[in-house]
């Protein structure tokens, strides 16, 4: 635990930040992974305001990463913003859910210019649009991709590879299921 005192002389601890976030931004219950790491869910409409508040008021000046998780069972994309405070040595991970049917989220490129690259990548890999983000429509790693975005879980990457890239015969496969069945449970019918 660190005892940095910033943000108006108050001690910065995960508890203080959580109470502040729940009072201001309707944050959900926190998930404390470590003393210095906390996951908090906020509504998507409040996400940019919460991030701005964390950055400008609580000193979380570092955006460690920004990614999305495809929760296809719940028809959601979970946007994941990992923020770090150098003064307090605390990580706070903000999570905001958006619908898979209309994957549009608010851009944060005005807070960190580098976030526009994350957003461009999310547009390409998950199909999540960030209106207003510069160059968000330009291809990033894929050029001329015409399938569903490849990091979505309903995209079958193996089937795509097999029908596109001329698989070479004779590859020896070490599938975990096969090995476990052979070595540990030969009698079980999987």
């Amino acid at each position: 635990m660190s005892n940095a005192t910033i943000a108006g002389g108050r001690e910065v601890t995960p508890e203080v930040i959580y109470e502040d976030l729940i009072a201001r931004f309707k944050a959900g219950s926190p998930d404390r992974r470590r003393d210095d790491l906390m996951f908090i869910t906020v509504p998507q409409a409040e996400a940019v305001a919460a991030i701005t508040h964390l950055k400008e008021h609580w000193g979380f000046r570092h955006l460690a990463f920004f990614t999305a998780v495809d929760l296809i069972e719940r028809n959601l994309f979970r946007l994941t913003y990992m923020l770090h405070s150098y003064e307090a040595s605390i990580d706070v991970c903000l999570q905001a859910d958006i619908s898979r049917d209309a994957p549009i989220a608010d851009t944060i490129h005005h807070l960190w210019a580098g976030a526009s690259t994350y957003e461009r990548e999310l547009k390409e890999m998950f199909g999540i649009d960030f209106p207003g983000c510069p160059r968000v429509d330009e291809p990033f790693a894929l050029e001329g991709w015409d399938e569903i975005p490849p990091m979505r879980r309903d995209f079958d990457t193996r089937a795509y590879s097999e029908r596109t890239f001329f698989p070479r015969d004779g590859r020896e496969k070490h599938d975990k299921v096969d090995i476990m069945k052979k070595e540990l449970y030969p009698e079980v019918d999987l």
Binding site: A141, G144, W145, F155, T157, T164, F165, F166, P167, R171
Partner: protein, 218 residues
Amino acid sequence: MSDATNTGATAREVIEQIDRARIELPELDRKYFCDEAPKVVEPYRGIVEKFLNWARSESLWILGFGTGCGAIELRPLMTARYDMYRYGIQPRPTPRQSSVFIIGGYASVKTMKRIVRSYEQMQNPKFVMGLGSCTVNGGMYWDSYNTVNRLDHYIPVDVYVAGCMPRPESLLAGFMQLKLRIREGRAEGANEYARNFDWYKANQKQIIKDWNMPDYNW
């Protein structure tokens, strides 16, 4: 997408830039660009070709283009410990000066476009070495959405060096194998590419969907 080729204008007249803006080449510049398909250059016979092949095998110039993680193995090869210069192998900065193209590991579709372009810019005779398992069968990325599985379907490959990733010693062994192949007159990749040009182009176009370059790259 490929406006430059679809409209019937040749590459000499119109080139398409990366941002899809088409510019017409001034008359004066057209002679510097080539839009002819590569041609087969029949080897000489007998002792002349043997002499040429000996000379080629003793002066292998690598294109300085690290295309994957395996390219990191070229650095120890260049420096004091493995010292590839003693075999007449040295890196060159442009495709026009190089004779060996080392594909250093996985080739994504985006890289493949640059690989094809660089390969076609190299002058005959040219040799390709596939470094690492990814060039053989996709390696650990065999079921990836973005990594080609068989390099030899896109450009002709002379020598494969398997491993993930191979040590510099394996690379040196690969170079020795390549030298042997050249001296035996079997390193005819450039002619093979010219003979099966349509097949290679069809394979390349199957994965490179935004084909915004001419069919033959200058």
